[in-house]
């Protein structure tokens, strides 16, 4: 599952909500977060600690600051493992080395004794992945895990996550800006805009028949190798509104070319347009047909 959407649309907030790690200044207003039939919002803090790092793990955007600078990698790995298993120090250390090996780090025994400052960004992100997967979680939330890394490393990390998760049996929620990555590893895609899900569908439908005007715009703004050389890169005019609550109608209306009077005052709901395809838009029909006329979606 991938979550896409432009900067500031609430992707990280969604991820942190699932972990119930939002700060003191925020709260989850309504809705449910369900994992294997348990509503996480009904758990107390102690039960939630049992879930974190054990059944849901998370990797963050910024590998340079995500590891504690004053503890060794080994210490931080062992701590994570011992929190959720009853292995003693030695066993935990062996499991940690095992995991570091799996994420492709050279000389894992040495790295166990290293402090984070001795590792590069890519290596740290591998350590984060190793740590996150150490307890074989059900779900791994990766919040833009490669944004801060250089391009060659990005591809390696994404592939590594995909392989390891398949091996351990972990579902990935990948938050990203990169539609190329989405095309490569996602099964289902959730498109977010201004704090809301505006479209949810499988990856093929997304690229072939995007329903929401925002998704269409997002896809059109991607540069293609096979594009004419005089084709222009399209951008969606305007930017994400900041004060979500003050908006009455559709949150996208100020940037939408299909917007009607109705959109201005009535917030659309997320409706199933087809089997497994939800869209939050009053004018799905119009948008979809015009999209088809203009040459359809983007093949990838």
């Amino acid at each position: 599952m991938a979550i896409v959407g432009e900067s500031g649309c609430g992707k990280s907030v969604t991820a942190l909500s699932i972990m119930r790690l939002l700060g003191k200044n925020s709260r989850i207003d309504h809705g449910n977060i369900v994992l294997d039939g348990t509503n996480l919002l009904e758990l107390n803090e102690k039960q939630m600690q049992e879930i974190r790092g054990n059944r849901i793990s998370m990797i963050f955007q910024e590998p340079m600051t995500s590891l504690n600078p004053v503890f060794t990698i080994g210490y931080q790995m062992i701590e994570a493992i011992q929190l959720h298993t009853d292995q003693d120090k030695k066993q935990a250390s062996a499991s940690a080395i095992e995991m570091l090996k799996k994420v492709g780090l050279p000389r894992p025994e040495r790295i166990m004794k290293d402090y984070p400052f001795a590792l590069s960004g890519g290596m740290r992100q591998r350590v984060m992945i190793a740590m996150a997967l150490a307890c074989k979680p059900k779900v791994l939330i990766a919040d833009e895990p490669t944004t801060a890394l250089d391009v060659t490393v990005q591809a390696q990390i994404i592939r590594l996550m995909k392989e390891l998760c398949a091996e351990v049996g972990t579902a990935i929620i990948l938050i990203t800006h990169d539609l190329g990555v989405v095309a490569e590893i996602a099964d289902r895609v959730l498109v977010m805009y201004a704090g809301q899900v505006v479209e949810e569908t499988d990856v093929f439908t997304l690229f072939d028949r995007p329903g929401h005007p925002y998704t269409q715009g997002l896809l059109r703004s991607v540069l293609h190798l096979d594009a004419d050389k005089d084709a222009r890169l399209v951008s969606i005019p305007g930017s994400v509104p900041t004060m979500y609550q003050s908006l009455k109608g559709c949150r996208f209306h100020n940037r939408c070319s299909y917007a009607t009077e109705h959109c201005l005052s009535h917030p659309p709901t997320l409706e199933a347009t087809q089997q497994g395809h939800w869209t939050r838009c009053w004018e799905v029909e119009a948008a979809a047909s015009s999209e088809r006329q203009s040459g359809g979606g983007v093949s990838s």
Binding site: M19, L21, E45, Q49, E50, I51, R52, G53, N54, S57, M58, F60, E62, T65, S66, L67, N68, P69, V70, F71, T72, E79, A80, L83, H84, Y115, F117, A118, M128, M131
Partner: protein
């Protein structure tokens, strides 16, 4: 690390040398001399002259300094007091104990209060506890210690008669542990208040800065209890800047000893310093000066070593430097 410590100690030698020279010069430029204390001005000039020769004060300043230094380096001897004729080394040693006892207790207590209180204040920013701690700290910093000391003496010694107002033991008493403890209470309160007051704020702001760090989110995402997130992951990082300030406390306390020991007639280094300055006891002042410089240098060194202990990045840079 060891290399680094040795290097630092070697660097300290010329510093100590410089400090003593400067002190020697300043002392001689100050008006008055030990002669004024020892000899009645009514005596004939010849008698005064004889006393001067006896104390070696008639030769030029640099010759005197040379003699002093030679004695120190060759014999490890700081000479004799010009007033009491006691050995300076012995005097300093006997006054050192009470000062270390007083300062050490206050430093430990002050830190033991400042760290937990600062951490609590930071984790509950803008709570009642935070405001109370910050007000207390503000008072601790801004109320001068002589004022607090006199206030405490007034209340607990003069009005309530609970605690002794001065000295370290009851005159002619047994000098047992309880006796000393009773005498320590008031001066320790005064010193602890200022140590805690200065440092609570520091711990708080240092913790607040750390509390926003992303690695704490990682620790929480692992499923770590909030208590450990704060007291293990955040604290270890906050400790880095805190250690630096704590190292500075030692010289501050040492300097403050002069005032506190005077108020409470505590028989320590501070009192010895003041009385030897009053009587222009050159040789004792020089000895005390050397000790003070030594304490400052040692405190700095201690800070650096602690710094390296709590911050692995520093430790590695030392090792790197030692290798190259």
């Amino acid at each position: 690390m060891l290399n680094y410590v040795i290097r630092r100690i070697l660097i300290a030698i010329p510093v100590l040398f410089g400090v003593t020279i400067i002190n020697f010069i300043i002392m001689r430029m100050a008006p008055g001399s030990p002669i004024d204390m020892l000899v009645s001005p009514k005596l004939p000039a010849a008698a005064i002259e004889a006393k001067k020769v006896e104390l070696g004060l008639n030769s030029p300043v640099y010759v005197q300094y040379y003699h002093w230094l030679k004695n120190l380096v060759l014999h490890g001897d700081l000479g004799y007091s010009m007033i009491t004729y006691e050995s300076v080394t012995k005097m300093i040693w006997s006054h050192m104990g009470p000062t270390v006892l007083l300062m050490g207790t206050s430093l430990i207590l002050g830190v033991a209060i400042a760290i937990p209180l600062g951490v609590l204040s930071a984790t509950r920013q803008y709570s009642k506890l935070d405001y109370t701690a910050m007000t207390g700290s503000f008072l601790g910093i801004s109320v001068p210690s002589f004022f607090l000391g006199l206030g405490l003496i007034y209340i607990f010694s003069l009005q309530l008669h609970w605690l002794p107002s001065s000295g370290m033991t009851v005159l002619g008493g047994s000098g047992g542990v309880v006796d000393v403890l009773r005498h320590m209470i008031l001066p320790v309160i005064v010193l602890t208040a200022s140590v805690a007051g200065r440092n609570v704020r520091y711990v708080r702001s240092s913790m607040l800065e750390i509390m926003g760090q992303e690695y704490l989110r990682t620790a929480r995402a692992k499923g770590l209890r909030e208590f450990l997130v704060v007291n293990r992951h955040a604290m270890r990082n906050a400790l880095i800047p805190i250690v630096t300030v704590l190292g500075m406390e030692i010289p501050i306390l040492f300097g403050g000893a002069v005032v506190i020991e005077q108020i409470f007639s505590w028989p320590g280094i501070g009192q010895l310093t003041l009385s030897s300055i009053m009587s222009r006891d050159y040789s004792t002042i020089m000895g005390l000066n050397l000790v003070a410089a030594f304490v400052v240098i040692l405190a700095n060194l201690l800070t650096d070593v602690l710094y390296a202990l709590v911050d692995p990045r520093i430790k590695y840079s030392y090792q790197g430097a030692a290798k190259s």
